[in-house]
Every structure is written in C-alpha cells, then in structure tokens.
C-alpha cells in the first residue's frame, strides 16, 4: 500500500476507534444514569437510544472512507457488505420462522449491527486474502 493510502487508512482507523470509544462511553453512561435516576418512560427511552448517535457519525465516517477508496477495494467492500447483510438477514428470517413453530428465546435486534459488522470484516478478509501476496 502506498504511503498516502497508508496514512489515510491509519487516520480512518484512529477515527473509527474514537467513535467506538464514544459509543461505549455513552452506552455506559446511559446504563449508569438509568440505574441511578428515577426517570420517566420518555426519559428512559431517550437515554436508551443515545448510544446510536455516535454510531450514526461512525456510519458517516465509513461512507466517507468508502468514497475515498479505489475501485477494487470498493468492490470488495460492496461484496463483503452483501454477504454480511445476506447472512444476517437469512439468519434473522430463519430464526423468525423457527419462532413461529417452536419456542425459542428472544434475541435483541441490537445485535444485528455488530453481527453485520463482524461478518463484513470476515468476508472482506477472506476476499482480500488472495491478493495478499505479490505474484
């Protein structure tokens, strides 16, 4: 990878980690505030959703980074995202259909985004593995 791209990648990773840290901090804060204060339903609802804010900023950061990538990496990321959304979507569909027939324990939809992110990462690594070495 060229120095210019490496620098861009490093900057992105740092900003990515900052956003994740902000998400975790706000999540922790919202949990503590919810447990230590007697809030109204509206207040608790607002508090519960506040960690989404840094994630929206993170989404903006990822999209901006995606636009700065070259065409091949964009293609790999697109395919990775398709795999991730497809696998998580199919798993959710299967679990939902299963729930119609047999009793299953509920799974929070909050796990969908992390699941998509993890599968996307794995798909991207697998897709780029073949390009790791110069032929």
């Amino acid at each position: 990878m060229s120095n210019k791209l490496e620098k861009k990648e490093k900057k992105f990773l740092v900003l990515f980690m900052v956003h994740i840290a902000m998400f975790l901090a706000i999540l922790g804060l919202s949990v503590v505030m919810n447990e230590t204060n007697d809030l109204s339903v509206n207040g608790r609802g607002f508090l519960a959703m506040t960690p989404v804010v840094p994630m929206l900023f993170l989404l903006r950061l990822v999209i901006s980074h995606y636009r700065s990538l070259d065409e091949y990496i964009q293609r790999v990321m697109g395919e990775g995202l398709l795999w991730a959304v497809g696998i998580v979507g199919c798993a959710a569909l299967a679990y939902g259909l299963l729930g119609e027939m047999v009793e299953v324990s509920p799974i929070s939809p909050a796990f969908m985004l992390p699941a998509i992110a993890v599968i996307f990462g794995i798909a991207k690594i697998i897709r780029l593995r073949g390009d790791a070495h110069e032929e």
């Binding site: 990878m1 060229s2 120095n3 210019k4 791209l5 990538l69 070259d70 065409e71 091949y72 990496i73 293609r75 790999v76 780029l128 073949g130 390009d131 790791a132 110069e134 032929e135």
Partner: protein, 70 residues
C-alpha cells in the same frame, strides 16, 4: 480481460507496490487487475496506459469469449 501488465511491470522493474503508488491505488487493486480478477474502469485503464506509455489496446485485450466470437 487479458493483459500484459506483469510483463510491462517486470520490464520496468516495478513491484506491484511501486505501480500502485504511481497510480494512487492499493497494491491489491494492481494485483487484481494483473491477475484478471478485476477489469479496471476506463479511468484506471487510461492511468495504466499513461504510466507505461502505451495505448489501452497494447495493455488489454478482451478474451475471445467476451466478444461473443466463440
């Protein structure tokens, strides 16, 4: 799409990383184009041709099947 990027790169003694640097793309992109895994956009094809001082036709040629001339 077939190409002779590997030969031209070797003639210039450039590594994939060096070529990638010249083109402003990732080394993976150069590797994917070189191995035929990725057909470059016109922009990248022109950039490659310009870097090697050749025409696009000298760098790339479609596979016979792609032209429907089986």
């Amino acid at each position: 799409m077939k190409n002779n990027l590997k030969v031209l790169r070797a003639e210039n003694s450039w590594s994939q990383a060096v070529l990638a640097e010249k083109l402003g793309v990732s080394r993976q992109a150069v590797n994917a184009v070189e191995t035929g895994k990725h057909d470059p956009s016109l922009t990248l094809a022109f950039a490659l041709a310009d870097t090697f001082g050749k025409s696009i036709e000298e760098l790339f040629r479609p596979k016979v099947r792609e032209l429907g001339e089986e």
